[in-house]
Symmetry: C2
Subunit: 275 residues, 2 copies
Amino acid sequence: MTQNMEIICVGNELLIGKTLNTNAQWLSKRATAVGIAVKRVTVVADEVEEIASAVREALQRKPQFVITTGGLGPTFDDKTLEGIAKALNRKLEVNAKALQMIKKKYETYAREKRVEKVELTQSRIKMATIPERTEPVSNRVGTAPGIRANVDETILIALPGVPSEMEAIFEETIAPLLKQASGGNVFHEKSIYADNIMESTLAPLIDKVMHDNPGVYVKSHPKGEENKPHIEIHFSIKAKDTEKPEEKLQKAIIQLSSLIKKSNGKVFSDKRVGA
Amino acid sequence: MTQNMEIICVGNELLIGKTLNTNAQWLSKRATAVGIAVKRVTVVADEVEEIASAVREALQRKPQFVITTGGLGPTFDDKTLEGIAKALNRKLEVNAKALQMIKKKYETYAREKRVEKVELTQSRIKMATIPERTEPVSNRVGTAPGIRANVDETILIALPGVPSEMEAIFEETIAPLLKQASGGNVFHEKSIYADNIMESTLAPLIDKVMHDNPGVYVKSHPKGEENKPHIEIHFSIKAKDTEKPEEKLQKAIIQLSSLIKKSNGKVFSDKRVGA
């Protein structure tokens, strides 16, 4: 079993370009940091069949984790749980524990707002209607619980789309699972910046440094304009602390910096200097 | 043939959370605006097999357009053309037209920098090595050309990942194709903002308005905190100008605003007022 994860983001707002997918970036960054590689991000619309296909396809690739975001709320277009139920071929049922979580939220709301009891309408019960044999996951910030299910060797987790809710559930409940799964591997990264060298001149130098420094990944990101090259060069390694990852990165950085200077390029450790 | 599109973004930087996927948002917004629905966004790593799978799977769903971004440059990890070649089962070959485009770029560079001739190294020729029976697409801003191929009923387009290059090629070469395909359908949207109403109270009201206003899509986006609800409500419609889309949106907005007020909610036309 490889230590990896897929992310599925559900929401028309992403596919019409109304919303920038910051959830995918946030989850990718956090998973990477604790040593879990994100293999794929899929964004689909608020449609049961689209969600079900994306979940089914992700599970077929057998990642260790699949995390979905979005579509857990009370409105008609919150269809992630229905899509997951379809993908897993499980029935949707009102989950007593989830209903209890939601009831408590509305009781607190009623108390704070000094209003009468908030009715458990159909829209509210919908948020507690989850696929059978899945566990609700408490949502401290918002109302709709997440869910968690074991599907063969994969842990499938559904999180809300509201960033503050998603992030809170992730940190409380999901991050510890990922850390445990990664077995102490941690992601280390560092960037340097090069001017006065074209990316195509840099390419063979990167090949050499990657060959000489096993485990270190080097990727160039051109930032400047066509005839005024300014390139960020990103070094990364995934390793246990005992494997001295920082030293390995530093060795690769020193070697590439020297090769760039030999090609008349300029090297900066800070993007502000070169920009 | 439905008027739709899939986007495939290639790049480890997206999957480690280093880079926010603004390209997907930009392309989604532009395609939506000219009437083409984006059905799916897939993000994969800089690996030939990952790219090939994503392209193959997208083509199997038979969208009208597949646009890839990223992975066209000169470095070892620019593998999109190899992935596409594998997905299409076509050979990679040095394309004379693409090579001419690249040669010209480096001639201009050499002239402006007053350096000797820039050699056509292996890394540079790589950018002109494209799958057989595909057309290079001129890149005015950068060096690596895009490519375009017809695959059954789908038009497959590969664009660079550098935003300024991607956007320039899109506007010059791709937008006209999409506009023609959409047959005059245009996307119209408008948001209102509601305070003092929970999303779960709003849910059945949205159901009613969508039922009474065919073609208009209404989606709620909670923005506030748990016990201080502030919700953006987004109305959209895809229609020809002759179908009076603005009037249809306005009718739905008036109906929902009135229903919200009846539930003691407050309605604002501007987010700054309600925020």
